[in-house]
Subunit: 400 residues, 2 copies
């Protein structure tokens, strides 16, 4: 049975050409980039080349780019840098404020909750039923002690693109009035190579990225920092990555990340309408299924720029998410219940849809279809016919 992989938002099918080159680089530049002998300098120079090239792809300066082990580390790094920057006694005295959305990835949501347990105040921007944060609500939540605002650029469960640029304008305006710096972060893991965006144009102070979501190697990510001096990271060690991220540089992984970004990022601009058309077609076909609910329901009415065409959320109540995932898996269609990153915790399951105002029956039956750069029209057609055949049987069994 031919398998169709529609779980690209969990991880992409790696690019074999890139992985092969990654191994070549691992052998050619095998030395520690921090070593000062000939091989070390050679590796150090190549690291600089990778950083320059990747910075060009992201349209930023190379001194604004830090490599990490992935998106989760990048998010945690930014959040916990607050602990070192603000001093513990001051935190306990002044309770500086953090504002995030209720639809953040767990690697932002969970550490923010940790900070709220150790002295910070934590507020959540309201999210509409459309999956988009309410900026008017943000306006009312900014306080003079607010130190960080973070909103995910493309939500990993619904594909909803958040208005980060407008958010930044609001925060900067507020900040201009109070004279206090507010750090604006965005988790851009599901945005890279999927939707067009400009880091400098958005005005954010930092953004997280991951290689494995765009066919690059596992275990490598990045962090954009508008002004590296404004971050005082908690973790430390040998001073690598300009003292922002310790540990021997994963040079082969960094090279692989650049290679995958170099392919994926310009491709977003090449044929922007194609993937959008495909996603609309998929949504329309799924909508036809009895009991099917597209999340958000009116997604097709939104502009193409408001949702990533690579992520589609739908629910088939009363069939539990896991049942749908397993039934489709048996037919060769690989999809996800919520996100893979919430699979370990039943508590966090459904949190995103719940915060959008959906009820338990709906969010416990939601699944995620996610596409990748190599997803073909043929695959989508086959998937649709299998889904349209499978779901009604499941809803029948479930007594709907």
């Amino acid at each position: 049975m031919k398998q169709i992989y529609l779980d690209w938002a969990a991880t992409a099918i790696p690019d074999i050409d890139i992985l092969t080159d990654v191994n070549r680089i691992a052998l050619t530049y095998f030395a520690n980039p921090s070593s000062v002998h000939e091989q070390g300098l050679k590796a150090g120079d190549f690291l600089m080349t990778c950083r320059n090239n990747m910075a060009k792809v992201l349209d930023i300066r190379d001194d604004q780019l830090i490599f990490t082990s992935g998106g989760s580390e990048s998010n945690n790094l930014v959040l916990f840098s607050l602990l070192k920057k603000l001093k513990t006694d001051s935190i306990l005295k002044h309770h500086p404020g953090i504002i995030i959305s209720g639809i953040e990835h767990p690697s932002m949501y969970e550490p923010a909750r940790t900070l709220s347990n150790i002295g910070f105040t934590l507020d959540f921007i309201r999210t509409g039923r459309n999956g988009i944060v309410d900026l008017d609500d943000l306006k009312g939540k900014l306080k003079k002690d607010t130190v960080l605002v973070s909103v995910i650029l493309v939500n990993n469960e619904t594909g909803a693109v958040q208005p980060v640029e407008s958010l930044t304008e609001i925060v900067r305006k507020y900040s201009g009035n109070t004279g206090r710096y507010i750090h604006i972060h965005t988790d851009a893991v599901q945005a890279l190579g999927k939707i067009p965006f400009s880091l400098t144009g958005s005005g954010v102070d930092s953004a997280s990225f991951s290689a494995h979501k765009i066919r690059g190697p596992r275990g490598v990510g990045a962090l954009y920092l508008k002004d590296i001096e404004k971050i005082i990271p908690l973790y430390s060690g040998g001073g690598q990555e300009k003292n922002i991220r310790p540990g021997t540089e994963n040079l082969p992984g960094i090279y692989g990340f650049f290679r995958s970004a170099e392919k994926a990022v310009p491709a977003v601009h090449e044929n922007p309408g194609k993937m959008y058309a495909l996603s609309c077609y998929f949504i329309r076909e799924i909508k036809e299924i009895k009991n099917a609910v597209i999340i958000p329901e009116e997604r097709l009415n939104f502009e193409s720029s408001q949702f990533s065409p690579y992520i589609i959320s739908a629910a088939f109540p009363p069939v539990p998410s896991e049942v749908t995932v397993r039934a489709l898996s048996e037919k060769g269609i690989m999809i996800s219940a919520g996100s893979a990153c919430s699979a370990h915790s039943s508590l966090s399951r459904g949190r995103v849809l719940k915060n959008m105002g959906y009820n338990p029956e709906l969010y416990s039956s939601a699944v995620r279809f996610s596409f990748g750069n190599t997803t073909t029209e043929e695959e989508i057609n086959t998937a649709i016919s299998i889904i349209r055949d499978t779901i009604p049987r499941l809803t029948g069994i479930a007594g709907a």
Copy 2:
């Protein structure tokens, strides 16, 4: 010119067979191990197999093994878990104590200093001129508020093996009297596959490991946790690695780590005398050079188990370390000035030797020779003749 790589303690020359298999695994088990569809479950099962196999190599239970991005992350993870476990207000009130040595790797030394700036008290166990920590000194430094003691198992600059087993006995005895738990950590990065040791036998609560030091892939490490329940990590996210370490599991990297450990660890027991004899021979030959100082001077008088035969420290005053490294590099011999991990900070340079009681003239002229599993007698002989030819010219120029 044939190059001889003697900087294995900075990073090992990767094993091409392992890297090739890593890519095969990346394609075979491409899905996210947390996904619940068929491919995800397959990846999840394979992750379990890797964990089981690696745990066997380390002679621990598989529920005691957490994969990270490397040794630096493992060390930071253990230290900063104290922040979450002990609560900020309690830390500021009680100033819990951390005891480490002055010869720790920067990824332990620097975060410990950070903790000392945010409420913890930090004490250092005295290190003898022989590079070994003084356990009598530790006895006087244990206090009822001590919460963590950490000593590196094999020092990364001198190769000195620290008496971690005896240290554990002392700490446990003290802990038994006070009834308070003290976490004992060891950075075992330079020990794995280089010296025989038993994690359970040593009695430590946690230990850090890195794959790239033993010919495995970059960007993957591990953390042994005797009792996983005793650690409450600061970083969080999708709940991977039993909630200890967030981020999509680097399955190919983890597999590569297991493969490199499976080769390196049993090899330690196969011919333990061979590498020791080679290191003694090297030391004797280097000692003959005018002005040469082996660190510690009396290293040859120690038992074979007290120094890793893979790391040898020597100084050629008054020639600055960098001059020696570059001169030998020009002759094809790749060695290190201190450790690669201290290359980014002139402040941390020399810290290890300084804490052993050496003076600036000596530690600023110290270099590290480090061997690997594939280092041959022939390479060592060639290196010796080049070193014996090069150093006297340098000391001559330096006016010694």
